[in-house]
Structure formats: structure tokens, C-alpha cells
Amino acid sequence: MQKASASLIVRYAFKDGLRELVLLPVWWYTNGLKRVFLFTLYSMKWSSDLFGLGIWVKNLFVPMYGETSLTGRAISFGVRFVMIIVRGIGVVTLSLLSWIGFVIYVVVLPLSLLGVIINLLALLF
């Protein structure tokens, strides 16, 4: 690859670094937000896959362990119903964690920025 002079590199580093810093809020609440939002949705799907919630709901009326007798079916339905609730709680918990992460993302930038500025002003003046 072509060798670039040190001054050009430094100039770019400053220019790009500064531009990134200035445009940070814009990126944070546009592309960045979209990415984190999609990631949160993916996490929800992942947690649903992890607990197999869809499969359990789909098989709500299918007897467990091949027990096709009436009692077997009744017990299966009961167990599946409970399991769907338990697994549902698992999915909701994990999803909630993902959404907490999302909310943190939304507030962390202004929070840290304000924290830095307010503290600095208060400490210096």
C-alpha cells in the first residue's frame, strides 16, 4: 500500500476525530439507535429460541412423552401450560434486560456528556 506522510496522517486523525466527535450525537440517535434497536429485537428472538417458547405454544395440545391417553393429554396440557408461563417469564426477563440495555444506550450519551461538563465546571469554578 502507498506510504502516507506523518503530517497527513495526523491531519486526518484530527480532522476525522473531530468530525466523529461533533457528529457523534447525530450518529448516536440515527444509525446507532437503529443498530441497537435491531440488536434488541434480535436478543428477544434469541431468548425466545433459547426457551423454545414457539415450539411449546405450537405443541400445547400435543401430549408429552407420547402419552396419548385422556389422562396423559390432560396432564400434558397442564404441564405445557405451566411450562409456557415459566418459559414465558424467562423470555420476558431476558427481553426486559435487552430493553434495559436499549434504554441505557438512549440515555448514556447525554448523561456522560452532562456529567463531564457539569462536574468540570463545578470543580473549576
Partner: protein
């Protein structure tokens, strides 16, 4: 300014990035600055973190867990916020780096492949989907062009620019090339390029960039890698193709090598996706929906392929998409079971493994989702019990399967289910039970069988009703090379060696050519494994496995000379006539014709689809026809025993055809086919061919034409590595008369073929021979020389006894006169030597007149004299 473009899904792509000194320098500076900014942010993050932690530790460490501390005003909190902010900036920086300005388009299956056209209107910049390495390759190519002062960046510049990438060094290494090898011609070629300033991107190179992009889209890649530039520039640069050919690498070989890199790339991507998906697949008998039951009996007699897949124990399947699709269609569409029918080694088990892996990833039709593929072991099931108990076991096992509802059965060698018997009275057919279970909708099965087993035991049995056939053909050479390439990584890892491309190619080509009892790709994989083991033992770790190593293994396995001609062998081949004349006296034309044919065969100039050579030796008895055949066996095959000799006078009736190729229905080969099957690298001598039945000659018509023959057991016997010599006495009287009249051999031959042999052989039969060679009757002088050879043989026989023997020239002359008969050639001479020489020596030996170190001298008039040797 870009001239060319490529439109995929209504989006046009073109190379819009300026390529000049300024832009290239800027791009390099930008890349460096990105690294610097990232490094700086990371440093701030770490320093901030350490400082705030230290400040907390020095004041009140418990405050770290107190959220209220965030609202206090202090340096430690300021540093905490600063760290947080630096983290945000670094996160955004890294994310933006990963954000491509464009994503690669996806070509749907069956979608028309677009063509490169002139650019009109708006376009997406190709540079945005190029990998860093690919962009660097282009910039290096540009740098090279500017250094030489060339007017444009040509594909050759691009190719050289791509040479520094990792993939290029793998390609060069495996192809056995070095940059040193091509450096000088490339430099010379570059000097002839048009000069000019400023250096711009040529239209041809633009086309190369677009082709590389299109190829990457076809491969389903996320970006354009440097090796696609490498191959796209190679394809348009004829100079490069010529240069590689000079180094022994054809365009096909180069492409196969690139395909190897693509295969590895695809396997890596697939493995990552597979690992992700496999995390959700249960490994026990229980499925995710818990509808299944424990299957203790099934577990005893089976192996769970999906579980093996989750644990990464199954081989990765390359190709065979059509066959898998067909299996799915059979199961999904017809709700039937499928039987994969293919010869041993074509990859039926690997296809089963491939299906199991797709089931792990749940990339299967709905009917197969959340199910497991379980391979039933029929030998286990029937071992140690009589057939009726085996049947009972099977019923209990099927009960578990139908109750569990999540099991797809895999049965290898389906024919094992039929004709089970034990003792005299207990017989049972598991097939009927199995079919009954499947047809009642118990589950589906995917079975395997060889074509012979399918025709013999399945097609017309009850199994044929529920199993739909899916043909698994032997892959062609290129596909087999790709399949083997996918296995090489594992072999290299196990044996700590590195495979050259040539070794991979030879493993496929030579096994295909010489090992007809087995099938691709298995036989090539076996050869590659053995070659790797041999090389690692002989040359140690990290040694390169070469084509010659593979050829050596093939030679050892088959007895066929697969290695290239070594230097000493070259001398032998070039002096074949001389060596042959050591045993065959006279017959110059015959010796010359045979020697030339052998040289052609060894240099692989003769057709690969026929025997190495086919000759018809015509001439009177005792003139050296059989001797020449033996000489060929000795000089070409290295051993006089490498000869399959058939006396065709024993095949005078039409029925005798069965002795040659086997009795139909016997499942056994015949004398000829079995002999060639066991010894495929040999001379086949058909003595007195004219005496064979005309129908038998028809069989040889096919052998001469295609180099193969099918025996009664249905096996195809390969004659391509044999030399077929037929001898015949037909037309002897004419030869003797014509040679006696002094006619030249060519006209004798022409007359023989056109007139004399008409009644014996059909013209199309004679035409099939590579050479019809006429042996002329021996002259008195030639018989004298033969007598000398025979005397030499006598001396050789006495050597082990420590006794020497020589004959005076007059004695030899006398023998040759006595033994000369123009009708019978040298035959009477042998009798004369036996009677006059061997008998006299035997008498002397028995009388105890000769001791060790003595010399027996044969004198004229047949007397022998003994010269006493030195006393010890």
C-alpha cells in the same frame, strides 16, 4: 471516470473511486488515522477507568456501589463520566468502521447472471464492498504501474498487486510456484507496456474489478476478497496463462486451486453458522417440544446422527445439493421413504451426514423439523439371536419409534434387511416388518444401497414399494477434486503435512484411471490419506505432499506404473530396441514397431481409452513371436511373469466364451477377466488367435476399442493398462514363399491383410490393431546368433553350480546348421541344443568328471572337454 457497470436488482455498481497518486496516499493516510483515533480513544478509556478506580480506592471504595455518588461533584466522578463518554465515542467509532457504505447484493437461485455493460446514470461505488486486502491489491498494482511509468493499470498490474495477499501465497505455495520463477518474464513483459502519464485504470481492469465483484456475489460473500481479483485478472491476461502453463499449471488447475480457497471460505462461514444453530438442538432422545419418549431399545441398536452432528463429529458435505433436494422432495412431496442408490465410496454416508447437519440447523422441510436422524444398525439388531427374535427386537424398536414421533430412521445397506436366516428352519424377513411399519406411517426412512443390491434385493421386493430411489452418481473429476479439497484440511492437520495442488489432482486422476474396483471420491481420499502418512513418516513435519508421492502410493496399490518416467527409465525406453535385441534375433521391423508403441504409451501419447498397445504378430512358428512378447513383459512391465497367456486353440467353440468372461448368473468372472482384474498392468498374450471361434474375436473387438470388458458378474474390467499381443500362424506359407522370393516385408504385409487373412479375420478386426507385424523366416545367420544365445543360457544355468561353460565358434556353427529348418524357425535348434549339449553336460556331471571351478568346453562334432579349474 468509470466506463463500465453491472446492474443487479436494479442497482448499478461501478468502480467510482478515483485512482491517482493523491487519492491512494489519502486513502492510506485515512486508514492509518482511523487506527490512531481508535487507539487514542481506547487509551483515554483505560486511563479514565484506572484513574477513577484509583480515586475511588483512595477515598471510599464502597462508594463504587452507591448510585448517589453519580450526583456528587468530585474529580473521581468526573473521571468516571469521562470514561463513560470515551466508551461511547469508542463504541460509535468501532460501529461506524463496521458499517459498510454498501452491502453486497444477493442473487436468488435461478436468477439471471447479469453482464458487464457500459455505465449510464447513477451507480454504487464498488470500492465500498471491496475488502481491505482487495483494495490494497489494487493500490499496489497502481503503484507498480506508476513506478514503471505505464499509461494504465492493467490486469497484470492488478495480479501482481494481489500477489502479496495471504490467499495468493497459498495459491502459489500449493501450485508449487514461486514469485522468483515468474519474476523475470513478468518484468520483461512489463517493459513492453505503453508509457504515459498520468496512470489511469484501464477499461480491461475495470471489467476485471466488476467480474471479481460478480463472482463474489455468486459465491454469496459479504465482500470482494483479493483472490477473486487474482483469478479475474488471470482469466483476461493471456500472458499470465501462458506463463503459468510454462510452469506446468494449466488454467483449469489454477481455477481448481482458487475453488479450493473458495471451498475453505465457504466451509468456515458454514461452520460458524452451524455452530450457532447447533446450540439450540437437543442432543438426547428428547426433542424440544418434549413429545418424544425415551427410546432405550432403539438406542442399543442405533447411532444418533443429529447428536453426532451437534458435537461436530460428522464430515462436512460439499456439493450434492441436487441429491439432497431430491431426498427432501421424496419425503415431503410423496411422504415416502428414500433409498440412496450409489456404488461403494460415492458418498452416500456423507450425504446422510449432510442431511443430519441440515436437521441440526433446522434448514429442512417442515416435516423434518425438530426431529432426529437415527442410524439403525442391522448387524447389531440381528447379532446373537435367531431371526424370529431379531424380528421381535425390531417390533419393539419400531414401537418406540412410532411412540416417539421425532425419529427419522437411516438404514445403511438396506439389503441387509432381506433374506435373514439361521440354521435350517429359522428364517425370517425383516424387510416385511420394516415395510409394514413404514407403510402404516410409523416414520420415514432414508436408506442406502449399492446398485447391485438395489437391483438384486430391493427393487422387486416389498422394500421397493415404499422406498423411492434417489441415484447417487460418482462425481466427475472436477467435483471429486473439490470434494477431496474439502477433506485435505483434516488430513493435513492429522499428519502435519501440506498438500500441493498437484497431489490432490493426481489422487483423483490416478485413482480414477487405475482403481476401477472402487469409486470417487472415497478412493481418492484413501490415496491422499496414505500419501500424507507416508510423507510425514519419510520427510517429517510440514513436508509437502507432491504428485509423485501420490503416484507412488497408486503404483504400490495397483502395480501400475503411475509415477513419471525417471531418468534411468528414460535410458531404458530410449534404448528399448537394443535391449530387445538382446533376446530377439533379427525381426528388426517387429522390434522397432513394438518399441515405438511402448515409448508412446509411457509418454502418455497414446489414447487413454484403449489398451496401451495392441499387436498382431504374424509369421511362421519358431521365429520369435512369443519371445518378443516375453521380452516386452520383461522390459516394460519389469518381469517376464507379468504375462497373461491364453492358448486360443482352447477356445474353438462358441461356449468357450464363458470360460473367458464367466458363466452368466454365476456371479464369477472368467479366466481372462479375472486374470486382468488381478493383474491390470500386464501383457495379454493370445496365442494362435486364428484358432479361436469368430464370436470370441468379437469380444476382443470391444476390448481393442474401449479398453474394457464386462464379466459375467457385471464388473467392468479395465484393459487400458495392458498390452495385447495376438500371435497367429495364418498365412505362414505365403510369408515363407514371398520372403523366399525376396519380396519386401511391407508388400508381404499388405498382401497378407488384403488377401491371405480375409478368410480368417474380418477386416474391421484387423483394423483395430495398432500394428500388424510380420515376422519373417529366420536366416541361417540368425539361427547361428540364436544358437549363441542358447549357449549363453546353458552357461547361465551352470553358474549356480560354480561350473563355467563355453562353446567354440565351430561348435556353435555346427549346432546352428543342424538346428536350422526354414519351416520351423529356431524350434529345432532348441531340441538340438538339448540333445547335443545338455545331454553331454548331464552325463559329465553324473559321472563326476566336473567339479566346481572347472570349465566345460563344447568343441566341434559335439564333443566336450573339461578344463580343470584352480585347486584351492
Amino acid at each position: 471516470m468509470a466506463l463500465l457497470g453491472l446492474t443487479i436488482k436494479e442497482q448499478t455498481y461501478a468502480w467510482l473511486e478515483p485512482l491517482d497518486e493523491y487519492s491512494v496516499t489519502q486513502h492510506a493516510a485515512k486508514n492509518k488515522s482511523i487506527q490512531i483515533v481508535g487507539g487514542f480513544l481506547f487509551s483515554v478509556l483505560i486511563i479514565g477507568l484506572i484513574t477513577s478506580l484509583a480515586l475511588f480506592l483512595f477515598t471510599d471504595p464502597t462508594d463504587i456501589l452507591n448510585p448517589r455518588v453519580l450526583f456528587e461533584t468530585s474529580w473521581r466522578v468526573w473521571f468516571l463520566y469521562l470514561t463513560l463518554l470515551a466508551g461511547c465515542v469508542l463504541f460509535a467509532h468501532q460501529q461506524q468502521l463496521g458499517e459498510r457504505r454498501a452491502t453486497m447484493p444477493v442473487l436468488e437461485q435461478g436468477e439471471e447472471i447479469p453482464a458487464v455493460t457500459s455505465l449510464t446514470g447513477e451507480a454504487q461505488n464498488l470500492a465500498d464492498v471491496f475488502s481491505d486486502e482487495a483494495r490494497a491489491a489494487l493500490e499496489r498494482g497502481f503503484k507498480l504501474a506508476t513506478t514503471f511509468g505505464h499509461a494504465s493499470v492493467s490486469p497484470l498490474h492488478l495480479f501482481i498487486g494481489a500477489l502479496e495477499s495471504n490467499d495468493a501465497s497459498i495459491v502459489f505455495g500449493r501450485l508449487g510456484l514461486t514469485f522468483e520463477k515468474i519474476k523475470d518474464p513478468v518484468a520483461r513483459y512489463l517493459q513492453g507496456r505503453q508509457l504515459g502519464k498520468p496512470t489511469v485504470l484501464s477499461e480491461e481492469t475495470e471489467r476485471v474489478l466488476l467480474t471479481a465483484f460478480l463472482e463474489s456475489v455468486k459465491q454469496g460473500l459479504q465482500e470482494v476478497p483479493s483472490y477473486e481479483l487474482f483469478v479475474a485478472s488471470f482469466d483476461v491476461e493471456e500472458f499470465l496463462q501462458e506463463l503459468f502453463l510454462d510452469s506446468g499449471v494449466s488454467a483449469q488447475q489454477f481455477h481448481n486451486m482458487i475453488e479450493w480457497i473458495r471451498i475453505n471460505d465457504r466451509m468456515r462461514i458454514r461452520y460458524q453458522a452451524f455452530k450457532k444453530a447447533a446450540a439450540f438442538k437437543p442432543t438426547g432422545p428428547m426433542n424440544r417440544s418434549m413429545t418424544s419418549v425415551a427410546t432405550p431399545i432403539l438406542d442399543q441398536f442405533s447411532e444418533d446422527l443429529t447428536t453426532a452432528g451437534v458435537y461436530g463429529q460428522l464430515p462436512i458435505l460439499v456439493g450434492r445439493e441436487r441429491e439432497i433436494e431430491e431426498v427432501f422432495r421424496v419425503i415431503e412431496g410423496g411422504r415416502q421413504s428414500a433409498v440412496l442408490v450409489g456404488s461403494e465410496g460415492v458418498g452416500k454416508q456423507t450425504i446422510l451426514a449432510g442431511i443430519a447437519q441440515l436437521m441440526v440447523e433446522e434448514r429442512v422441510p417442515k416435516i423434518l423439523e425438530d426431529k432426529r436422524l437415527v442410524r439403525l444398525s442391522v448387524p447389531h439388531l440381528i447379532s446373537g439371536v435367531d431371526p424370529s427374535m431379531a424380528q421381535e427386537r425390531m417390533m419393539r424398536l419400531f414401537y418406540e419409534v412410532s411412540k416417539s414421533r421425532n425419529i427419522i430412521l437411516a438404514v445403511t445397506d438396506l439389503e441387509q434387511m432381506t433374506g435373514l436366516s439361521s440354521g435350517n428352519d429359522a428364517t425370517a424377513d425383516l424387510a416385511a416388518t420394516f415395510v409394514d411399519f413404514l407403510s402404516r406411517g410409523g416414520t420415514f426412512a432414508i436408506a442406502t444401497a449399492t446398485p447391485r443390491a438395489y437391483v438384486g434385493s430391493i427393487e422387486r421386493s416389498v422394500l421397493g414399494r415404499v422406498f423411492q430411489k434417489v441415484d447417487i452418481n460418482e462425481p466427475d473429476e472436477t467435483s471429486a477434486i473439490h470434494m477431496l479439497q474439502s477433506k485435505i484440511g483434516e488430513i493435513e492437520y492429522n499428519q502435519k503435512v501440506v498438500f500441493s495442488y498437484e497431489a490432490v489432482e493426481k489422487a483423483v486422476q490416478l485413482s480414477d484411471r487405475y482403481m476401477h474396483e472402487e469409486y470417487l471420491p472415497k478412493k481418492a481420499i484413501t490415496i491422499a490419506r496414505e500419501a500424507a502418512l507416508m510423507v510425514s513418516k519419510l520427510r517429517g513435519e510440514d513436508a509437502l505432499v507432491l504428485g509423485e508421492d501420490v503416484a507412488q502410493i497408486v503404483t504400490e496399490k495397483t502395480g501400475v506404473k503411475a509415477t513419471s518416467v525417471a531418468s534411468e527409465e528414460k535410458d531404458t525406453l530410449l534404448n528399448l530396441e537394443e535391449r530387445m535385441h538382446g533376446r530377439v534375433i533379427g525381426q528388426d521391423e517387429a522390434v522397432k514397431a513394438v518399441a515405438s508403441a511402448l515409448r508412446r504409451a509411457r509418454a502418455e501419447l497414446s489414447s487413454q481409452d484403449r489398451p496401451l498397445a495392441t499387436f498382431l504378430f504374424l509369421g511362421p512358428t519358431g521365429v520369435g513371436k512369443t519371445e518378443l512378447a516375453k521380452t516386452v513383459a520383461q522390459t516394460y512391465f519389469g518381469n517376464e511373469d507379468a504375462m497373461i497367456r491364453l492358448d486360443m486353440s482352447e477356445y474353438q467353440s462358441q461356449d468357450s466364451i464363458h470360460r473367458l468372461i464367466g458363466v452368466p448368473g454365476s456371479n464369477q468372472g472368467g479366466l481372462l477377466t479375472e486374470a486382468v482384474r488381478k493383474q491390470p498392468f500386464a501383457i495379454v498374450l493370445l496365442d494362435e488367435l486364428e484358432k479361436a471361434h469368430p464370436e470370441i474375436l468379437n469380444i476382443f473387438l470391444q476390448v481393442f476399442d474401449d479398453g474394457r470388458l464386462t464379466d459375467a458378474a457385471g464388473r467392468t474390467i479395465d484393459f487400458k493398462n495392458t498390452i495385447i499381443v495376438s500371435t497367429s500362424n495364418a498365412g505362414t506359407q505365403y510369408i515363407q514363399d514371398a520372403v523366399g522370393r525376396g519380396e519386401d516385408l511391407d508388400s508381404v504385409k499388405t498382401h497378407l491383410i488384403e488377401e491371405e487373412l480375409k478368410g480368417t479375420y474380418r477386416p474391421e478386426f484387423l483394423n483395430r490393431f495398432d500394428g500388424v507385424i510380420v515376422f519373417k523366416p529366420l536366416t541361417q545367420d540368425e539361427v547361428f546368433q540364436i544358437a549363441g544365445l542358447m549357449i549363453g543360457q546353458v552357461a547361465k544355468r551352470l553358474e549356480p553350480k560354480g561350473i563355467f561353460f563355453r562353446a567354440e565358434p565351430d561348435a556353435v556353427k555346427e549346432l546352428s546348421v543342424k538346428g536350422y529348418d526354414p519351416k520351423f524357425g529356431a524350434r529345432p535348434l532348441r531340441r538340438v541344443v538339448q540333445e547335443e549339449v545338455d545331454n553331454a553336460i548331464a552325463n559329465a556331471l553324473l559321472a563326476g568328471k566336473v567339479k566346481r571351478r572347472d570349465t566345460i568346453v563344447l568343441k566341434a562334432s559335439g564333443t566336450i572337454e573339461i578344463e580343470k579349474g584352480k585347486e584351492l
